[in-house]
Symmetry: D2
Subunit: 340 residues, 4 copies
């Protein structure tokens, strides 16, 4: 920790602050500069208490307190310099040379809707089927998903197509049930700091796809991921899905800059969800192209046979035909990005 003193403080104040620093387990190291005196508090910030209260407890003496250690460990690039890969099932490996596309409807609605979509996205080149069985809805009066019935349909679609399955976990009490059917457990943006859910998901041992919260800082996202790895589950993928800003033209702003940043800070794969990110099907194409070019490991795309009549989020789902066209347009970019 670095403690910056105010310009002219009394000897007595200085002594009090230094005493408190020692009491909290750090060794103070004083540097007298031109405009400010600065104290380096030597000690492990992750083991000792924070010194940040000094600024408010000694308001006459302390101007600011700055931590210097990064707070995440296991997810960090330092802990694991090579890219890590996640084995989903049957040879599907995320984070390696092969670029993957996860696609499917926002909500599982019916057997017909799901199987038709699964078949189509598979033919277009997707390897993983998405579909919500439990849906977190802003209003209690909106469709909350088909529940376990939806999970069974996903399993059936997997059996028929060979696609792996990703679906969202909403409740700690469903962790085992969802893990029974899913190949990847998705933690949604609204639950990205629901640490109890993260722990329950991690303990199933299944690969976890962790979406970024609506106003989650990169550091907080990495720390939420740390909850997964610290609970002995190394199979973590980060998924950017758009952040909340002042802009109202689209529902969210897809932060594609998160791709190089996650690659720099962490060894875990990064997935982009352009459907949530834009909230508008007509922007999905360009978003996908940007994501591929910038080094994403996979895409998560909402696809529906008839979006206008979807039971949830119709505005952001692309049709089966649009999806097939998109996959073709992505091909040259996937190659140009050095992926297959």
């Amino acid at each position: 920790m670095i403690i910056v003193f105010k310009p002219k403080i009394s000897k007595r104040d200085e002594t009090s602050v230094l005493r408190e620093i020692r009491k909290l387990g750090y060794k103070p190291h004083i540097m007298r500069g031109v405009a400010r005196t600065v104290v380096g508090a030597i000690g492990d910030e992750l083991k000792n208490k924070s010194l940040e209260a000094l600024a408010t407890q000694f308001p006459e003496a302390v101007e600011s307190v700055m931590p210097i250690q990064k707070r995440f460990k296991l997810v960090s690039r330092q802990a694991h310099p090579a890219n890590s890969t996640v084995n989903i099932r049957g040879g599907i490996v995320l984070g390696g040379k092969k670029f993957h596309v996860m696609a499917g409807p926002c909500s599982v609605e019916s057997e017909k809707q799901l199987l038709k979509t699964a078949e189509a996205v598979k033919n277009a080149g997707a390897t993983i089927l998405r579909g919500g069985a439990f849906k977190p809805r802003t209003s209690p009066y909106e469709f909350q998903g088909p529940g376990e019935k939806g999970l069974k349909l996903l399993a059936k679609a997997r059996k028929e197509t060979g696609l792996a399955v990703i679906t969202e976990l909403l409740s700690e009490t469903h962790a085992e049930m969802v893990a029974e059917y899913a190949d990847i457990i998705q933690i949604g943006a609204r639950n990205s700091q629901n640490f109890q859910l993260l722990i329950a998901a991690a303990k199933t041992g299944k690969p976890i796809l962790l979406k970024r919260g609506l106003s989650m800082k990169i550091e907080e996202w990495l720390l939420a991921g740390e909850y997964v790895l610290a609970n002995e589950n190394p199979n973590l993928m980060f998924c950017e899905r758009g952040i909340r800003t002042f802009e109202t033209y689209t529902r969210n702003i897809l932060d594609l800059g998160a791709i190089p940043i996650i690659k720099q800070e962490s060894h875990c794969p990064i997935v982009i969800d352009p459907s949530q990110g834009a909230g508008r099907a007509d922007l999905v194409f360009a978003m996908c192209k940007g994501a591929v070019a910038m080094g994403a490991d996979a895409l998560l795309i909402e696809v529906h046979p008839n979006p206008a009549e979807a039971w949830s989020d119709g505005a952001q789902q692309v049709t089966l035909e649009q999806f097939a066209k998109l996959m073709q347009e992505l091909r040259p970019l996937i190659l140009a990005a050095g992926r297959v």
Copy 2:
């Protein structure tokens, strides 16, 4: 719903859109204006599917789709024109003429720390004791709270002082346990759209204090509250605790404008948490004064006998002496605001 057509669309496109509107359960009503043709889709937006997908499904024809109904019902001022009041325990009624202060440490740390604080805040005029037994922490390596042991200490402090007790619920699986000890169940900002937790909390029948999420719109907050009332628990209080913005001077921006807005839209009481809101003890005084003057029903303030050595969030906790002084300074403003 209002559907705005693009300026020059073909008759055929118009017919297709109108057919889809009817198919989705609405009766279209056409208005031809000077610059745009607009369709009013007559039907209950809360019962029918959304028409928002029309804009992306008919991109050549539809410019925008605007819902007109408010999505919340039970929490709305319309549903209950008078202010509602919440009975906490033993004559403590929130939302009435009496202004209440909830105060106590961020985390329950020890019997001595808690009882000393409880005694002091009671003497200064608080009626409700706060204290975290389960703490949601950004990092898995930070202190996660004392758990049930903390709940027992809160119950002991209640017995000794007569203060009511508020504490946070983090996990669906703890709902019954927390309800056994607490007089008010707090749902924290990070769980404000953890709908499963909201439902579990509501079902205990205990009064619920629902904090606003870090980037939660007013409408989303009201809808999260709707999850409580829709699960047959009318004892809901909203709590503003600061929103996330671009500003880095303070951790959050306390949105005091939420007070008149919640009062206008809803009948439920509104509580202000200036400690989380500012993240800095030195700003708490002014924030409390503003909240009282603007019509808040209660304050939720973090108080600690020795904030510099607190196990969590020391920078935002005020000392026992500061709290007593604050309560005195608030007195004339409480009276000027027409409260007692």
Copy 3:
């Protein structure tokens, strides 16, 4: 500046960074901690070049670079520990014990509209008349203000009522003209970092009211104010008018927390504009009460004889009757806040 090294860097990298630090005019002081080595670069940050490029120029060696000096000087509380006061005209002093209210229409529309409003706000207790002669409008097709004709009307209203006059300056080329008529020159939110305009305004010698930009950090606001004081004009007032966030219920979020923060960091008066802040007349009352209770020095309120027919921003203007009522309701709070 504090330079934090990455965990395991080569001796050679360390030497290169230290050499560069010296080359840029600082003396490096090394602290070897438990988890990180940190360098304190001793030297005046305001005179030397920034070291912030080190992190990107030595990406293998440097983790982060943190400035420690505050960048503002003349506006700082340190430079002038007492509150400064601004003499507007004829005994109107802002920043002292007397609380002031500036009120008037968004735009000057006609002699009748302006004089009627001026008379009414004076009778209700305002001391300063506001009114836009030059209006910055988002669209080129909206009413841009009456120009110099409006300034003349403001001067006439001053003569008839004795109120001082505040009006906005939009263009460097109008600085002298506006200064001829106005007692206070307002710099609007959209021009808050138009430094050429700030300099031109400062040079007129007139008191300056500097609105906060829509997404301006406190530090940037203070630095924009520094442009005024550094151009030899000590008569600066800061004006909070709402910041831009994700919330769409109101046009802006009025950041009342800026009051104690500006009071802490600066000696200059702080004014609150609740009309722009809320964008809705029905919220203005509560906002004004909060501002008074939290220690603002003045309010800037939009008042119009018939807001529904105003030529600009009708939704946020209060009527003459509402304004008179508001002034009465503020009275006890002004006294409770220790003002007159």
Copy 4:
């Protein structure tokens, strides 16, 4: 305009609102729906006054007022369905099939620095030289640019290399001088709603590159561009350079989604500035790749022979070697995007 009434309003209130709508120049058209009565106000929103004040002037009767017309005209895709192209000079045409790169130092510092950079970026494939002669700086104590001397050096570099020149205009009073030297006039983010500057720049007749403001909505940006076209200058380019959000990992979030949105709403070219966008040289590569893949017409990149010693913004400038490497890496993506 659409006016939504509150659920149960009196006949008298309804009549008053309808009278006011007529008075303001619109013809009301009533639609009685299931849950709400809605009024379509028929009339040209761009010529008549706004009805938005109705909601605050009739708070018991009017729930909300929604405009339906888009406020921009000349910049809109509707006004000019084909992409427009901008002739810069000597065969350099922006917005056509050829992808352009503008590159050069943040500030013009010396003849040697500028010529060396110009030579290098030209050899690497850039066609336009950037360089700041007038710099808008957050603090009055930072380097404000070399002024006209810098303009002369830019002209010299153009003469020696054949590159076109882009430089920023800060002050209305410099418009003619800057136009004398520059081929493109840049309006910076902080001046993006300095409408007087936009008008002065437009009137020079030179091509204008309009950066997006830090918290500027797409609609506001288009309307700021409208100020250029409405002042008879058709040569407008939009430039996304990052928006301000809650994230602190990077200085801004580059909103690459602006590319397809501007292409959809407008006919004007879109340029991406990844240097300002990220504020960190190490992220520039990925940002450029995303921009190319998503359909940008050009890039604006900061390049410096020795960024660590740059007089401004060293952290975000790439070296001459990095720039050459970047241009090579972009090549396959430019082709994959169908550009040359």
